[in-house]
Amino acid sequence: MMAMAALNDAMIPIEDLSQVFSDMTPLPQNDGSDRVCVIQYPTAFALAYNYMRAIWQSKEMSQRALKLTATCAKLNPANYTVWHYRRQCLKDLGLASNEDAVRQDLALAAALGGPNPKNYQIWYHRRALLETHGVKELFCRLELDYIKDVLREDAKNYHAWSYRQWILEAVDDEELWKEEMDFASTLIDEDIRNNSAWNQRWFVVHRGKQDGKPLSMNEARLEADFAIDKGISVDPYNESSCRYLLSILKEQLLEGEHDLAKKLVEEHEAKVSNLRLAFEKTNQDPGKCVNLTATWIDLLEMMGDKESLQKAVSLAKGQATEHDRIRTKYWLFRAKQLQNGIDE
């Protein structure tokens, strides 16, 4: 993390602004009574941004302009124009391809973002810097570690995960993909309901590619088994692992080798069916686990034979009328859809 001193060095102190920009006329904004959504800016804010506007108008790209963007970014980290101008200054000053300068700017963004940044601009700044400079091994490691720190604060930070995916795709290194698989698994261990971690697993196992090629049968089997062994059988109430299983199987049916896929579906339909039996053995109504029933319905649909579809229709109706009444209309629609499948 950037030390306070280093952060301060990157900015111009408010009290120095008039002196540093003594040759410029600050440009105020019209915030009079003939405007709406007017914000009562603190004096420091208004001063800094009045100079920033003057700089934008003059199109000056300089060290002082660069520092002013840091001052302004601290005052409002969501001002995307400030960040954009900062990047333009870096390019103009020849710093965009300078490793040290990039490292410093990444540290600046981290310092301004705090432990759990949820600001588009701060995350995009990192990406833009590295898009220009190139990710390279050094930055790749640094960034993955930084993202890991953020995820420790909030394991579902959406920006963090998007950015993480971009890094991995940009580098596309087999070792890193394997490590990422472990990372996703660790997070699933820590919180089996962390949907972002399951989503990451899908991303990794597909190597971030949407070229229409499904997983190999071996890979699909491993993933389906993982979803059952480490997911559904551990906590059948968890939606994340169920959707994962269903999509792995569906992908094989639609895009893989059909007969093998069918067999894989049958195996897993049996496993899920057995899990429901386990409820009954402990005197619990398996119908209460709405999620498991929904999963079984989709599997029966994939099986495709008349008996399975009829079972699915009956289960869907049960969801509609008894177990999952907030989704009654959806389940009735599903039942009808499945019934149409039988009639055709």
Binding site: Q29, D31, S33, D34, R35, V36, C37, V38, I39, Y41, P42, F45, R53, Q57, L75, N76, A78, N79, Y80, T81, H84, R87, G114, Y120, Y124, R127, A155, K156, Y158, S162, Q165, E190, D191, I192, R193, N194, N195, S196, N199, W202, F203, Q210, V234, D235, Y237, E239, R243, Y244, S247, K288, C289, V290, H323, R325, I326, R327, T328, K329, Y330, F333
Partner: protein
């Protein structure tokens, strides 16, 4: 910094010092002892006010900081309230009364259910004094026999007072109109790059709360939204956010033909704009001289709206600005209903020549939209990423499906998105937007779960799902038979399933992602996405509806023509009553405005989207099938269009507008 704190419940004025936290806590204990309804007490407006005073860093700290401060106070209250007779039902935990493994996710979900639980009390089981208090704050109607009855008992299964719950219309209106009647306090600097958003959230929210007037007319009419002066100020503010630039090089994707014979035929990009700078005259000897000095040729005037004056044009703030202008542009220049507001006492010297005294804001808004239309198109095209079909949010900015939605929406409303057969590639005479690539990018954002993420492989998320689904609908790329083979199809069954699963069984509201928490704003993002997804399936047999058109617009046009209400020819695939219940009971702030969930403070964004979701629930549902929650008449909002999120009649008017293209 001395301030005093007036408890809204007990009305006691207290001086504030470092121990104001203790003051607040003792205040609430007293209130509880007096039997003041826990629901009103729980309202975070009281908490927020006290916490603001007690914990000064509150307003500047991160959301996490807020939550921690609030949690301390809330857990104290929870302790106190447990001394009361048990008033709420046992809280069923997530997933049907069972948690097998305790994780962060299940812990947060349980906390959320617990914070909503007090609001789900059976109102008829409350003691009369507490019911009276709910009447005082406006959540229940006055002069209602059932409400004022001295009998207090639970009828066990339902809540017969459900149909009495009110929407605090006046309070919400007061809250929203601040942004054009007063200045915003310093902490709003964090929204300094979102000022068109602030205006849109408040204007649209206010629009939904509009009431009709019969005021000397034959048929009820919705009044103009603001006074002329206010409206003109709004247009002026948005005009300040207009950021323009010039380019001499149209993007290569517009060019057809070869080096020697370039054809530029896109009718919008190459339309002449008054602020374009023509090429130097080639017959003029002076200009030949200039050409030797590499004087640029024709300069195209381009632009978009930024978050504030001088800020870079940005897709999201452009969307907000265009929507706000569409609201203003579709008001009636002859409507005199708000004249008193303009002539009431005014601080400034009356300048008789001020714009608002001579021209109506709807005209100014229309003129501004006419002016920006072509330059906006050019700017939008410059944001297109031809290799992926995505759009950037601003020059050198991030690419995600929000950009596609915001750009496509603006283009459609401004008549820049012509109907195009999706099976044929764009020709040089057709506009550039709406190419199959654009559709493919959106479809590629659908994840294995069925919802959509911001970019391919990003986690399925309500906000992005709405953007993707609405964009596809506007581009007429959703639904059976909408695939001419030129682009990929969205899996609408998978989408519908994911969306349906986002409604929380206990809370009734929607979450944004699987295994995340309920949030009032998703009432719109997920609710509207469901309204659109619902239109993709089988329609009832109907001679009145054209399957290829916009069903919501059609219904509006039909009801205008026949002067009666029609139902949509397809169901709405979520539990309407449960959503309305969440919005009315958990999201409303008793001092005005709506919020994410009870522990969060109100804000303009959540007010806008809770109300928008309520409007979708009311107007996209089917009266024969859906049971609403609350006082159906009293809570009724004007109908919003689920794709654009402005009033449907305004969408109709704008789409009918005739734009002049020189």
């Amino acid at each position: 910094m001395k301030k005093s704190f007036r408890c809204p419940i007990t009305s006691t004025e207290r001086g504030v010092s470092t121990s104001c936290r203790e003051v607040f806590l003792s205040e609430t204990t007293q209130a509880v002892e007096k039997g003041i309804t826990y629901a009103a007490l729980w309202s975070s407006s009281i908490i927020t006010e006290a916490v603001t005073l007690a914990f000064p860093p509150f307003m500047m700290s991160s959301t996490d900081g807020n939550r921690n401060n609030n949690n301390e106070v809330y857990s104290f209250l929870q302790q106190q309230l447990q001394l009361q007779p048990p008033l709420f039902r046992t809280v069923p935990f997530h997933d049907n009364n069972s948690i097998i493994i305790d994780t962060e996710t299940t812990r947060l979900q349980q906390e959320t259910e617990q914070e909503c639980a007090p609001f789900f009390v059976e109102l008829s089981s409350l003691p009369p004094g507490q019911r009276e208090h709910l009447v005082q704050v406006g959540l229940l109607p006055a002069d209602d026999a059932l409400v004022t009855s001295t009998i207090s008992e639970s009828d066990g299964d339902g809540d017969d007072m459900a149909s009495k719950v009110q929407l605090l219309r006046d309070k919400h209106r007061q809250y929203l109109q601040q942004v054009w009647k007063k200045k915003l306090k310093a902490p709003f600097v964090s929204l300094d790059s979102s000022r068109p958003w602030i205006l849109y959230w408040c204007l649209h929210g206010f629009d939904l709360l509009q009431e009709t007037t019969t005021d000397g007319r034959d048929t009820p009419k919705i009044m103009n939204i603001v006074s002329n002066r206010e409206g003109c100020n709004m247009v002026a503010t948005l005009k300040d956010c207009w950021q323009s630039y010039y380019t001499a090089d149209p993007p290569s994707l517009l060019v057809e033909g070869n080096e020697d014979n370039r054809q530029y035929k896109d009718p919008f990009y190459f339309a002449r704009h008054e602020d374009d700078v023509p090429a130097a005259d080639t017959d003029d000897p002076n200009s030949r001289q200039k050409q030797k000095q590499k004087q640029p040729s024709y300069q195209y005037y381009c632009g978009g709206f930024g978050g504030g004056p001088g800020q870079l044009a940005h897709a999201a703030t452009t969307y907000a600005a265009v929507l706000a202008l569409c609201i203003l542009a579709t008001d009636d220049p002859n409507d005199a209903s708000k004249i008193e507001q303009d002539t009431s006492s005014d601080d400034d010297d009356d300048d008789a020549s001020a714009e608002w005294t001579t021209i109506h804001y709807s005209t100014l808004a229309r003129e501004l939209l006419q002016y920006v239309r072509i330059p906006l198109y050019r700017w939008m095209v410059s944001l297109q990423q031809s290799h992926t079909g995505g759009y950037r949010m601003h020059h050198d900015g991030e690419v995600d499906v929000r950009a596609t939605y915001t750009i496509i929406t603006c283009a459609k409303l401004l008549g820049l998105l012509l109907p195009e057969s999706s099976s044929s590639p764009p020709s040089s005479s057709r506009p550039v937007l709406n190419r199959p690539q654009v559709i493919n990018f959106v479809v590629s954002c659908q994840t294995y779960e069925g919802g959509m993420g911001g970019e391919p492989f990003s986690e399925a998320h309500g906000g992005y799902t709405f953007c993707g689904v609405a964009a596809l609908k506007i581009m007429d790329a959703l639904g059976p038979g909408k695939d001419g083979g030129a682009h990929k199809q969205l899996d609408t069954t998978a989408l519908l399933g994911w969306l349906a699963r986002r409604q929380m069984a206990y809370e009734g509201g929607f979450s944004g992602r699987s295994n995340k928490l309920v949030d009032g704003c998703y009432s719109f993002w997920q609710g509207a996405a469901l309204a659109i997804a619902s239109s993709c399936g089988q329609w009832e047999e109907s001679v009145t509806y054209d399957k290829d058109g916009d069903p919501w617009l059609q219904r509006y046009q039909l009801s205008c023509r026949d002067n009666k209400e029609f139902d949509l020819p397809f169901p709405l695939f979520f539990d309407v009553g449960m959503l309305e219940r969440y919005i009315l009971l958990c999201a409303q702030e008793i001092s005005g405005g709506l919020r994410d969930k009870p522990s969060k403070p109100r804000d303009f964004y959540h007010t806008c989207y809770n109300l928008s979701g309520l409007s979708v629930a009311q107007h996209c549902s089917n009266r024969r099938v859906d049971t609403s929650y609350g006082d159906a008449q009293q809570t009724r909002l004007s109908p919003t269009h689920p794709c654009y999120n402005i009033r449907i009649d305004r969408v109709a008017a704008i789409l009918d507008a005739i734009w002049t293209t020189p």
